[in-house]
Symmetry: C2
Subunit: 235 residues, 2 copies
DNA sequence: CTTAACTGCGTAGGACATACGCAATACGGG
DNA sequence: CCCGTATTGCGTATGTCCTACGCAGTTAAG
């Protein structure tokens, strides 16, 4: 039964045996993953090639394949490690979920490549599950069903991911296009073609540099909506 | 001034001149983009190579570069075309935004590759702006500020994108791992390590096959929260 | 008819992931 | 103590990409 597990999961959960024969490994999975995360953080996911990673580690490219089945598996390991420990939550479901979502967003800002590395399957990494667990814990003292809790934690996760996706891309984008985004918008958006958008632009809704408002605004509304549900169930 | 525009934007907005000299083009940008979308829809973004695209079009790979500066530009064109026209919205901001978000989610289910093709800059394509415009239009008769409208439309967009990201990936994932996700979860998740998660699993919150609930549940809560804001501003 | 612009495309180069197999290494059993 | 064996690092080679460059054929303008 355990032998039918994909190799990736075995390694992730520490089920893989460590028979100590042969030469001392000079490379370790931890070092490989940590260095890979470093490269992806600094230069983006596109800059992470097995060759560059090996160069940074001072080994030959093919040496990596003794510790990692392929590049996709490396990405899974990276996604497992990069988030780190989820934050401790303050008491109260509202502050708890808000803290959790903001911390998650912080992780995505620090490691924007996570948003590009598509999982290809539902989360089974301990690192991801630890965050999911912590998010669910925020609802500990509420009358919500477990299914509702899961759905609502995911909704908060979507907000964090979505906003980070747009903003992380903005931060790493070419500044010359990003800078006068408003000017370009105003140039193309005419009232006859995009009436509502033109109105918003004329109102200055796209000026200023706080595009991350959409996260806090969306989160506040979501929390309000959850509060309605909770009080309805409590009363 | 117009000459300083990136080529990609010129083509997108139809600003590019069409001096009619030389041979009749047998290829057209529309046909290239449509075929590329077809391939990405059917076989995934990874299967879309310039070579395969050319083969499907019956031309040589390098011929494509007469109509498209590079592969990234092709992806921008695809992202501009694939969403199509945004839906007509029913009266009332609540039904309007819900209709908009569900339609957007439908587009992402039909073209999951959109979620992998990272934009690299804020949206400036007419196709994307048409959807943004339609979303803003849902708030036409509300007392919300234009900035609030933008943030809330984005929040709804995040929900749709986030849920589609997880589910589109689920649908295209390897079924053997996806099928008994609950069994794998139950095997790894222990109460001492992931207390809240273990409780949810024991409660059966991860059984059944309606993971898309998180979209509708999150959207309903978000709409409730917006309603609170609107009534507060109206009264 | 000449000229200039424009199209399709053949060639080639460079980056990349990775299958395969070999040599060196170090532990376990005899 | 020594031999077999598992294990590590890695050199070579293959196939797949994207795409720079330039040539040849085609068509409209003057």
């Amino acid at each position: 039964m355990a032998s039918e597990l994909p190799r990736t999961l075995k390694v992730l959960w520490g089920v893989a045996e460590r028979p100590a024969r042969g030469p001392q490994p000079t490379l370790s999975l931890d070092r490989i993953v940590a260095t890979a995360i470093e490269i992806a953080d600094r230069d983006g996911l596109a800059a992470l090639s097995m060759a560059r990673l090996a160069e940074r580690l001072g080994c030959a490219p093919m040496s990596l394949y003794r510790h990692v089945a392929n590049k996709d598996e490396l990405l899974v390991f990276m996604q497992n490690t990069a988030p780190g420990e989820p934050p401790a939550l303050p008491p109260g479901w509202r502050d708890g979920l808000a803290t959790w979502a903001r911390a998650l967003r912080g992780v995505l800002y620090a490691h924007p490549w996570i948003l590009q590395a598509t999982a290809g399957r539902p989360p089974l990494e301990p690192g991801q599950l630890a965050w999911l667990d912590r998010g669910l814990a925020a609802f500990r003292d509420t009358p919500l069903s477990h299914r509702e809790r899961g759905d609502l934690v995911l909704a908060a996760l979507y907000l964090a991911r979505g906003e980070a996706h747009i903003n992380a891309v903005l931060l790493s984008g070419t500044p010359d296009v990003t800078a006068d985004y408003g000017a370009l918008l105003a140039r193309f958006v005419t009232a006859d073609r995009f009436p509502a958008l033109a109105e918003s632009i004329a109102d200055g809704a796209f000026e200023g540099d706080e595009p991350d408002n959409s996260f806090e605004v969306g989160l506040a509304r979501l929390l309000d909506g959850i509060e309605l549900l909770i009080t309805a169930k409590s009363g």
